[in-house]
Symmetry: C2
Subunit: 227 residues, 2 copies
């Protein structure tokens, strides 16, 4: 499948690398290709610059947001939450309309330092903001409750015996995404939480996720729902 | 132990009944004893009025907020979150100071109907509001991420193999509460999330909890943290 991924950070790299290794035709989209390839400093988490990752991986294209959105039969929003709406505006509704947009971003607000708060929550969510901004796009929120490495390889924790969630207004799109999550990454347990407003629930997991990372001293964990 | 429980709803009943059955000396506190015993209608969830529960259970005293707070060596806030600060004001700092206050309330806002939103979250929490309002009280937030019946009997789900969290500024108080949760109710897995500001994390679980209750069609579930 032709897949466009918006964003160049850890999440985009984890998803892009995994999808390319599965034989998908992946194009990563960024605001400014030349600037993305110029950066030589590590990111805020100490990860190497994008160009080092991109040099070492074969078959992942890098173009601008609009080209990646136009290229993808499916598009993934893996930009920083605070930049997502602007990135999608640049990508262009005409390149996104009618397509599934998997939104994995979180509305993290680092303006007051660590730990981050959320710039939208409770009575709204980033997922809903994107859906309202792009009413003809089939937004499916998922994968935003876990570390990037775990997104694409759930078996790294407890042999994959834990849960992921999907939220979205289009049932057919959600069912397709559930199928992709299982087929591509090996997710065993996917819970459909309902319409896109249920993204409030998964985005609001962030504060406990951050505290759990501190208590457990690792980002490699996830929730299993037991009943 | 002498335990004061503020509130008369499902949560107070579950906790009071269980603690009395363990041999503790339990006093439930309410705003107006006569009115609480007058009520004959079911509550919003269809549960019978307090007086029916109280008539059928032995050894649980009912007095006003101040008397219950003064009575308890340990006090539990099981009022509705929207009424908690007012209830604690009536209970009186002089009756609470120096004591552990287990806060199990959630800041639910039903003013816009169902599902509820939160009246405080993200950059503050009800747990923090209570701690700020009563600086000499040892506030420990816990048990607010599950159904009332599961609070006092975690073995009802997956033989108790799931997690509960504690948040609070006083480590000795938290350690005592962790001991109580294990000894009284049989909790096996308790994670200390940190200071009282980590209550933001557990209170913000509510939105996904409500959606999961809808998806699973039961309130009898909980999260297990796997790493």
């Amino acid at each position: 499948m032709k897949i466009g991924i918006l964003g160049t950070g850890m999440v985009a790299q984890a998803l892009g690398g995994r999808l390319a290794s599965l034989g998908h035709d992946v194009m990563i989209g960024t605001r400014d290709v030349a600037k993305t390839l110029e950066r030589s400093e590590k990111d805020a988490y100490g990860n190497p610059p994008f160009k080092e990752w991109h040099r070492d991986i074969s078959g992942v294209k890098l173009e601008d947001f609009a080209q990646a959105a136009a290229f993808g039969e499916l598009v993934i929003n893996a930009t920083a939450g605070s930049a997502s709406l602007a990135a999608l505006d640049i990508a262009g509704a005409s390149h996104l309309n009618g397509k599934i947009l998997i939104d994995v971003a979180n509305p993290l607000d680092f303006s007051q330092g660590m730990p981050p708060s959320l710039f939208v929550c409770n009575t709204d969510s980033l997922g809903e903001q994107i859906q309202r901004g792009f009413p003809e796009v089939k937004v499916v929120k998922t994968l935003n409750t876990i570390n990037a490495l775990l997104m694409v390889n759930p078996a790294q924790v407890a042999n994959g015996d834990h849960h992921i969630f999907v939220s979205g207004n289009d049932q057919t799109a959600k069912d397709k995404v559930i199928g992709y999550l299982k087929a591509w990454f090996g997710w065993k347990h996917v819970i459909d939480l309902g319409d896109i407003s249920s993204a409030r629930g998964t985005e609001m997991i962030l504060p406990i996720w951050v505290r759990l990372m501190g208590a457990l001293q690792t980002p490699m964990f996830n929730f299993k729902i037991l009943q």
